[in-house]
Every structure is written in C-alpha cells, then in structure tokens.
Amino acid sequence: MGKSFSGKLICGVALSVALGAAGFAVPAAAATLRMAWSQDATGLDPHKQTAFSSLRLLELIYEPLVRLDDALKIVPALAQSWEFSQDSKTLTFKLDPDATFQNGDKVTSADVKASFERLMAEETGAAARANFLSIASIDTPDETTVVFNLSQPDVPLLTAMTNINAAVVPASEIAAGTIGTKAIGSGPFKLDKWEPNAKEVLSANKDWAGGETSIDGIDISVLPDETAILAALRAKQVDFALINDPLVATLVPNEAGLRLDRTPVLNYHVLQLNPSRTPMTELGVRQAISCAVDRQDVLDTALLGEGKVTGPLTMPAYAIDPSQLFCYERDLDKAKQLMADAGYADGFSATVIAATGEPPTAAAEAQVLQSQLAEIGIKLDIKLMELNVYVDTWLKGDFDMAVALNGGRADPYSMYNRYWTKAGNLQKVANYIDDTLDDLMQQGRVESDPEKRREIFAAFEKHLAEVSPWIWLYTSYSYTAQQNNVEGFVPTPTGSLFGLSKVSVAK
C-alpha cells in the first residue's frame, strides 16, 4: 500500500511549492478509504480488548454471532437465526453456512464453542466474561448449530453477544495461541498491517459472507491531535474521520465539501458521587447535589450544547423522559433546604477526580459543576489525572466524586448489573445498593415480555434518579466527519464503524 496519494503537484500556491510540493496531496481517486482517528486500538485480541478504540477496529475484522443495527435491533451476523427455548434457558443459533474465516476455513459450531470457552476461561482474563456467567455448557449437534445451555433465564445474554468481545475466532488459532498477535476473523476487512499508534492498513475481504464491500480497503492514520484531523480533512487528505471533541466537530459543517454526522450514543456523562464517604452518605446531600446541578447548562458550556440531557437509561427503547425524574429541573431553593435538613447548611468541601482528555470535555465539565455546586456551599477541588491513574483510583473507589464518561449498552441489565446489583463486580465503585434496585434488576433479567420489561426498568430508572448515588448528566454524540464524495455510511448508537462495509467513494 502506501500509495494513498499520488505525487501530483499543486501549482499556483507559492508557499506549497516552496515547501516541496511532492509531499502534498490531492484527493486520491483510489477506492481505498483514507481514514483518521485520534486514538488507536490498543490490541488485537477481541476477547480481551475493551477500549472503544480497539473495538472500533476489531468490529471491521471479526464478527459476533449477532449484531445491533442502527435502531439497536438485533440482526444476523455469523448466525442466520436464533431462538430462546420456552423457559428462556436454552439459546440455539443457526450459523451462516457460507461464513468463512480469512484463512479460508469455514466458520463452524466448533469455532463458536471454542471461542466462548476461551472467553469464559479465567486464564484468558476477559473482562466481558462477567456478562456470560449464565452459560453452563455449549452443545454442537452439527456443523452449523450451536446450543447454549443456561444455568438460569438470561434474556440480556443475546444483547451481550452482539458485542465484539463475544467475537467468534478460529479454534485453530486458539489452539496455536495466536489470538491477539494475528487477526484472523470472518469480517468484511482483513488487517494487512498494524503499526500501533501510527497506522492500520485494511483490505477488503473478498470472501466475506455478508456480501461485497465497495471499497478496496481502508488506510487508517492515527492523528493524535484532533485539530490536525480537521486540517487533514480540509486539505482533502482524509476521506473519513472519527472525532471525539465536540469543539472540533462543530467546526466541520462550516466547511464546504465536508459533512458531519452526529449520532446519539449510549455512553453517558455522569458525576459519580461516592455514597460511602461523608457527607455523600446522606440521601439529602446527594439529592441536594442533584437539584443544584443544571444539566443543560453543563452541556451548553462544556460541550457547546452537543448532546441531550439523560436519565440513567440511555437506550431509546427504555429511556423515559428526563422531566419525570427527580430534580431534573434545577431547584436551588430545594437544594439549599435539603442541605440544611441534612445538617450541611454551610456546605462542605470535596474532591472531584477527572481524567485528562477522556473525554476531551472532562476538565470543562468539572469546572462548570464546581461553579454550580459552589452556589449551595459545596467547595469542589478538581483533580485531573492521567487516564490510567484515574482508572486505578476509580477502580479502588478512592474518590469523593468523579466526572466520568461510562459505557452504555443496548440492554439496561447488561449496562448496570455491574453497579446496581448486590453481586455487581463494581459495587466497590458504586458504593450504593438497596433492595429495590437489586429486586428490579433481577426481575428485568428474567422477564422476556418486552412491555413488562419496560415497566420494570422505568421503575428502576426513577428510583435510581431519586436516591441519586450518581448525578446522570447527558449523552453526547459520536461524530464522523467525511468528504462529500463518501457515500453510504450508516452510524449506530454503539459507535460501531461496521457501516464502513457499505461505504463507497465517488470519483
């Protein structure tokens, strides 16, 4: 590869000529999509990687059994069809008989079984394992049939299987121990080359069972500074780009020839309180904070209004109108009253942690929150930390408050069982649980009637907002910027770039 641009000269611009014009590009007519993002994947093992940036890459190479479409409906991927048994305790998949891995082997039920067994094995160290604990055993009656036997009814399991963390990998590669060093999937693109934090070269997988891709491949460049991504788009050096920072994204539409797509995502911005630390132990104090925060104002300032105020549930199928939730309209008098009733009329001091650059707006959010909470006498001290230090601190629950951007899921149970159930793995981070929350979560897990599920989770959401262990703020957008000649990209709320398999580049 490497001929992402032809060395044509641009004349007329004295400066560019003076700078040695051969290094400067004109829009390439190649059907290779030139793409840029600021954060690179951190690894190639689909079972282990959990960073958004890694998932984005791996979704192009590997396939799960089922995937989510742009309306978050479950649609076929490797599996053509699936069925829950009457008691919701067995889940049966029929595989696409045409599906092949990029090494030429057929995708068989044995590969599915081996993949899930690898995912479940403790020595793999797959964080996603927690979502699949209900799988008791896997049967493979024939080459294209897989049966999951569950230890208890688990409706959200199917949604969990749409994640690329549940990708099917070749059993032969598992045996050879090369998962994570070689990327051999069954997806629309093959990874030809990966230089971490610099670039990826992908080529179209001609044998992909999902159809034909209309581009020959994707060249991905890692441009860590998003201003540089915008500059590269303007100079028509990049056809398609992912942008994280709303401050940069909002500049894209001003540019003729460029298009910005914004998709509401499931991830949510939140101010996490730590209810195990005084005075956040007091319900009144937590509620006062909820009433004192003007969510729309934080959104308007820190993200230039690029987002939507949300309650705990961010998926459209379950989310209820935020105005029905506790104190979503700012009420300073009520906040002050609650503070006084809890014995903190004079306020208190607390430290809020935030990660530098993750999200890019974290520091700004913390500063607006600081100024809003100052109005009810809460003095916030902001501590910005490098992402890894932040994660370490966060996992230990070692904070008074934390500004966070947490991942959302299409199913409320998979999204929150880690925090708001008694057995949740991240209880030490959430530090709050009550019987109502735990009961509602367990009911939602086993209920398969959609209408009843919605009622259960609406009650869950209202209760969660009212006991205010965290202050849910808003969801933002995922941005893709592109040249106008790139056609057919369909973004999804999960942020997946799988839509690139349908993209074409007009000459």
Partner: protein, 319 residues
C-alpha cells in the same frame, strides 16, 4: 586521551543509574498494563483472571526479580518484548529511530542555515537597527512554544492554502525522498524555528567576542580585507560555542520531540515513549529511555571531542 577513557569508564555507571531510575519511576506510576488495556472494565476481573494477566504481562514477580531479569537480558542485547507492539523492544525502537534522527538532522540543518548567517550578520551590525531586528526575531523564535508554531503552521496551510503534507505516516528517506521530505518539512521547520533562534543568538554573541579580540584587531589593523577577517579569522573561533549548543540541542532532539510529533502525528521516538508510558508498556519505556540516554551521552562525548579539536587551548581534563 585520559579524559576519553575516564568518560568511557563512567559510561556504564551512568547507564546503570538511568536504568534504575526509569525502572522504578515507571512502576511508581499508578495503574499497570492491565488497567491500560481494560480501562474501568478491569474491575470485572476475578482475582484468578488478574493473576493470569499479570503473568502474561510479566509483572507478577517482585521488582528486584523483574529488574534482574531485564538487566541480564539488556546486557545480552535483549530489551524484552513490547506488549503493545508484540515485538522485541529493540525492533520497535529501531523502526522509529530513523525518523527521529532525520528530523533532528533536518532541524539542525535549518537552524544552522538560518542562524549562522543571521548571527554573523547581526554581529557585524552591532547595535544598529538591523542587528536589533535580527535579535528581536531571534527572541520571538526562542520564546514561542513550539506547539503554537506547529498549530499555526497547520492552520495557515490547511485553511489558507488547502494543502497539507500527509500526516500520520512516515516514508523512509530511501524509499521516496520527496515524499519523505514533504512529511518532515513542517515539523522540522517548527523545531528549527526555535533552534535557529538560539543559534542566531549564540553566533552573534560569540562573533562579537571574537571580533573584539586582539588577533582579529591585529589582522584588521594590518589591512586584511574585512570579509577575509570575518570568515577566515573570526568565524572558526566563533564556531566553538555554536557547535556546543547545536550538539547539546541535537542530543535532546534525538530523544524525540514529543509535542511536535504529537501535533504532526509523526511516529517518532518521543511519541512512542509517551504512548508507552500511557499504556504502561514497561519494557518499551525502559528500553527506549535507555536508548535515548545512550544517544545523548554519545552525542555529548562527540561534542566534547569536537570542542577540543576546535580549540586546542582547552584541556578536557577538568570538565
């Protein structure tokens, strides 16, 4: 060359110090390769899963054991495996080094090409308006943070002219020299701008010193042509501090230019080490810091030797 042998003897000692310092400091930073890979999802791991991953990343042993193993390997030329690249650390470094080396050379070339003539010119026009002009320009160069220069360059080129070098890639010099130059010219200009400013200032003041020395005045009074005095007699002596400065600066640049590489998305050493720190790729951090330190010391040794060659009056004994 008593001095040289003494330097060579202390070389390994300093390297040992660097190795201990980098080994300890990177481990004192909270978070490890597991949290770097999994982020907050790391909280979903069971203790058994965590132990398995620690063994996988080679961080399950005690520090002295890890250090011992690493040091023994390093002595045999094996700096370990980078967990992010899945390749031997030395291979990763050597892939990135040509860019860093070229960028450093190019910046130095730009700095010397602009700075030396400007400095000499200013010295001959001491305290005249043109001297002041050069000095003010040099000071602006020295006082502008390079991320401002870089971002402005990118902004002006992309918005004003709609052109920009291809970013995020690096074509080796011998594969396509023009493309290679196109990729490096903006970052080199950014780095060279401040570098040229320092060279200008040093060259100017060194030149002024030399011009006031007896032998130059003698040459002048004997009627030697002004130009010949300037270039033949004065410049060689004025070069000494310029060489020192350029050498030291070059030594720093060989360590990678983190911020400029970040802005121009260049896969050089600086950004590699920064990413390695952020991703807690211990082996890569250790190996590359060791490599950078070694380069720095070699360059400094060469500068000292050049210094001695240019100025025989200086004995290297007491430095």
């Amino acid at each position: 060359m008593n001095y040289l042998t003494r330097r060579l003897v202390t070389f390994p000692l300093v390297m040992l110090g660097v190795s201990v310092l980098v080994f300890i400091s990177i481990r004192l930073v909270p978070g490890d390769a597991i949290t770097a890979m999994l982020g907050t999802e790391a909280g979903l791991l069971t203790p058994e899963q965590r132990a398995a991953l620690e063994a996988y990343f080679g961080i399950d042993q005690s520090w002295p054991v890890q250090y011992g193993r690493w040091l023994l390997g390093a002595l045999k030329g094996d700096l370990g495996i980078s967990v992010t690249f899945g390749k031997p650390v030395l291979d990763v470094i050597l892939e990135r080094f040509p860019l860093t080396l070229e960028l450093a050379l190019l910046s130095m070339a730009i700095a010397l090409l602009i700075g030396l003539p400007a400095g000499v010119f200013a010295a001959t026009r001491n305290e005249k308006p043109s001297d002041l002009g050069v000095r003010i320009f040099a000071m602006i160069g020295q006082s502008t943070p390079n991320f401002v220069v870089g971002l402005l360059l990118i902004y002006i080129l992309s918005v004003g002219f709609g052109v920009l070098p291809v970013m995020g890639a690096f074509t080796p010099l011998f594969q396509d020299p023009l493309e290679n130059l196109g990729q490096l010219i903006l970052p080199a200009l950014t780095l060279g701008f401040a570098f040229a400013a320092s060279v200008t200032r040093i060259a100017r003041s060194a030149m002024l010193d030399v011009l006031s020395e007896d032998y130059v005045r003698t040459a002048r009074s004997k009627g030697a042509p002004a130009m010949s005095v300037l270039w033949r007699h004065a410049l060689p002596n004025a070069l000494i501090p310029v060489v020192t400065l350029s050498g030291v600066e070059f030594g720093y640049l060989l360590g990678g230019a983190v911020i400029v590489e970040q802005i121009f998305a260049l896969p050089g050493l600086g950004r590699m080490v920064l990413d390695a720190i952020l991703q807690r790729d211990y082996a890569l951090v250790q190996g590359s810091v060791l490599f950078i330190a070694l380069n720095f010391m070699i360059v400094n040794l060469l500068v000292d030797l050049a210094y001695a060659m240019l100025d025989p009056r200086i004995r290297l004994g007491d430095r």
